[in-house]
Structure formats: C-alpha cells, structure tokens
C-alpha cells in the first residue's frame, strides 16, 4: 500500500508528509505532528473529543482520513490562542468552569469556536443544539453553555469595539 504525499496547512503552518491511506486525521495530528490537543475518545464519531476545523467546518477527526485533507486548512485547539492570549472561547471555559477533567475540552473549544462563527448571537437552546455533537461526562452541560455564552458576549463586544 503506497503512501500518499499530502500537503496540509495546520494552524497556519504548511506540512508536507507521506501518509498511509488508512491513517486517520486524529492519528496524523497526534503522532506525525505531535499536536496532542485533539483527543481520541469514542473513535466512532459520537463523542466529539477529536473535533477540529477543516476548511471552516467542524469535523470529527477520528472519522476522516488524513489523505482526504490534502490541500485543506486544518485548525486545532493548539491554534486557538493568539501569541499567548486565550481565545474568547478558552477564556469562557476558564471563567465559567466549563470543565472538570478536561478530556472533552479541546473538542468543546473547537466546536464552540466554529459554532460562534456560524451563529454569533445564539439562544441557550441553539447553543445546546450547536454543541450536541460533543459529550462531557463530568462537568455537565450547564457550565459549558455558560462558557459559550461568555465567549459569544466577549466576541460581540470585541467586534463592536
């Protein structure tokens, strides 16, 4: 099985690698690029811990082949903060206690980041539906909703400032 040469932009950096076709994006990120932010959870596209952004859409990287990302732009949780300053969604999870063990958090952050692009002024119901592809087994969702609300407010203030 011949390896395929792919070029992928990951967090703004162009990466050229030869990959086995069966390599999943999550393994490519974690093992080839040492980006261990995205987590391997259920491995069956249910839990959302592996969520990343591909070309401006949220995708579960456990159910996507690395070879399919040839020519794409991928954003992972490592790319969220800007020069050490937390992104609004990261600040929201920190301020509102949106995590306990933190295992689901990278996926939550990446989904919240994209969701607030899709819907900058969401209702609580819309947040719950928008985040419904991400499971948390310890915090419960109340503080996660508050964290997303915090981020929405902050992003709106920044946009209008």
């Amino acid at each position: 099985m011949a390896k395929k040469l792919i070029t992928v932009s990951v967090n703004g950096k162009s990466e050229e690698k030869a990959v086995e076709p069966r390599t999943l994006l999550i393994h490519f990120l974690r093992e080839e690029l040492n980006l261990t932010g995205a987590h391997i959870g259920c491995e069956t596209s249910h839990c959302g811990a592996c969520t990343v952004d591909i070309d401006g859409r949220s995708v579960k990287s456990c159910t996507h082949l690395a070879v399919q990302c040839d020519g794409s732009e991928v954003l992972t949780v490592e790319g969220l903060a800007n020069k050490g300053v937390l992104h609004a969604v990261q600040e929201g999870f920190y301020k509102e206690h949106g995590l306990q063990c933190g295992f689901c958090t990278p996926g939550m952050l990446m989904r919240a980041y994209r969701f607030l692009h899709e819907n900058p002024n969401p209702s609580e119901e819309e947040i719950r539906m928008g985040m419904s592809g991400n499971l948390c087994r310890c915090t419960g969702y109340q503080n996660i909703v508050k964290a997303v609300q915090h981020a929405a407010k902050k992003l709106q203030e920044t946009a209008t400032a």
């Binding site: 099985m1 491995e43 069956t44 596209s45 859409r57 592809g133």
Partner: protein
Amino acid sequence: MIPPRFEYHAPKSVGEAVALLGQLGSDAKLLAGGHSLLPMMKLRFAQPAHLIDINRIPELRGIREAGGQVVIGAMTVENDLITSPIVQAKLPLLAEAAKLIADPQVRNRGTIGGDIAHGDPGNDHPALSIAIEASFVLEGPNGRRTVAADGFFLGTYMTLLEENEVMVEIHAPAFAQGTGWAYEKLKRKTGDWATAGCAVVMRKSGNTVSHVRIALTNVAPTALRAEAAEAALLGQAFTPATVQAAADAATAICDPAEDLRGDAEYKTAMAGEMVKRALAKAWARCA
C-alpha cells in the same frame, strides 16, 4: 481503532469513478461522507481492498432547480440541505428533517446520497425520499438511469444500486403550494437513530385529504411506504377515526428488529404514534 489497509483512489469525475469501479470490481467501496463506512472498517465489518473517495468530484455537490424539480447532488452534505434556500422553500421537509440526523459535525460530512445508498434502515433519507416522491439518478458503465425511491430499497444494505454504479443526483418535485409535511422521529437522545420514525407529505381540499405519502424509518429491514395507511386517508375527511385507521394500517406492516432501542412490540407501537403525530403536524401545515 485503525481501519485495515486499502489502496486509496480520488477520482475527479463521475466517469473516472465508474471506470475505477469497473476495473476494481467488488474489492472496491465508494467513500462518501465516511461516517458509516469508516466505523465499519475500524470494526472489520468491512474490509475493502480499495476505497474510491468521491469527495473530490465537484459535479456531485450542490442544489439547483430544474423545471418543477429540485435536483440535489448525491454528495451534498446534511448541513447544506439545512441551510439551502432552495430546499427550505421547495422541500422544507428535508431541511427540517436533516436537523434530526446525527449532530453538527457529522452533518458536515454525512451526505444525502450516502445515507440513501448505504441501505441502512436506520437512516432517515430513505423514508424521506419515498415521502417526497424522489427519484435517483445512477451512473454506470452504460450511462445513466433513473429509479424511483419507492422500490429502491430491497433489504438491509441492499438497494437497486449496482456495484458498478455511482449515485449522482436526487430529484424531487418541488412541493405544490399548500403542501403540508412532517417528520416525526422518536429517539433516545439527540443524534440517535430512530426508534421509529414517520415522514408525511400531504395536501388537502377542504377537509378532505387530496394527496398523502406516508413512509416509515427503522421499523423493518428497509424504509417502508405505508400504502394501506395512505389509502385509509386519501379522499377521506381528516378525522381522529381516519387518522387511527391510517396508524393501524401502518403498524400492520412494521417488522422491526429488536435492539437496545426496544423490542418489536414497543417499536411497532411507537411507529403508530409517530404516524399520528406526523399526520397531525402535516395536516396543520396544509393550506
């Protein structure tokens, strides 16, 4: 979990994909959104020697109107159905029902054509396609053919799609003015497959049902068109008695598989309830 080894092919046109299917035969599988196939490969339920990735074929994506028909590329993802102004205006049932499929991330990858062609009775588009009287354009080595959704589903994972064919488009007539619709899907949690589901498209004339299509999800080896249930309503007044007769006729054809969502009796009863709810909602939307 890592899928077994395979050779990867990424054709740029439907013609190339069909040629590859012909050349590689039954060792090849088409990769659409991959959210059924890749998990099956991880579990070794599927071990194709070749994957033909049809994600890089632009002609398979997009939504357009042609005459009175809505034409949907088979590789159009669920989220694009939800946000499409054409689907919202002309086939609102699809835009509404797609929100009940899986979750936002999966809807960015999962495609309407993959959902249909997979032949899984738990998928939602088979019943929706039957309810909207869709037809499917399939391309093979001898060109294209069009088959109706009603009759396309032969058994679990078995459809009229041949091994050497690619589903290209889904066609459906735009809803006539005044059409009512509904998809009622009982599920244990957001994103789950249906315990039982029912799609309805109907029109009325006064208090009489002048058109009705009823299709069921996940209560038999395939999606079902409930023809006897339709017959119980067509040309009749819409009353609790005719609705009950339709629900009874629909439950009579259910043959669900027992699983963690419930036993056969429960699922059949829930199918009847989904029929009643979908009929009530669709009727209220008729104008």
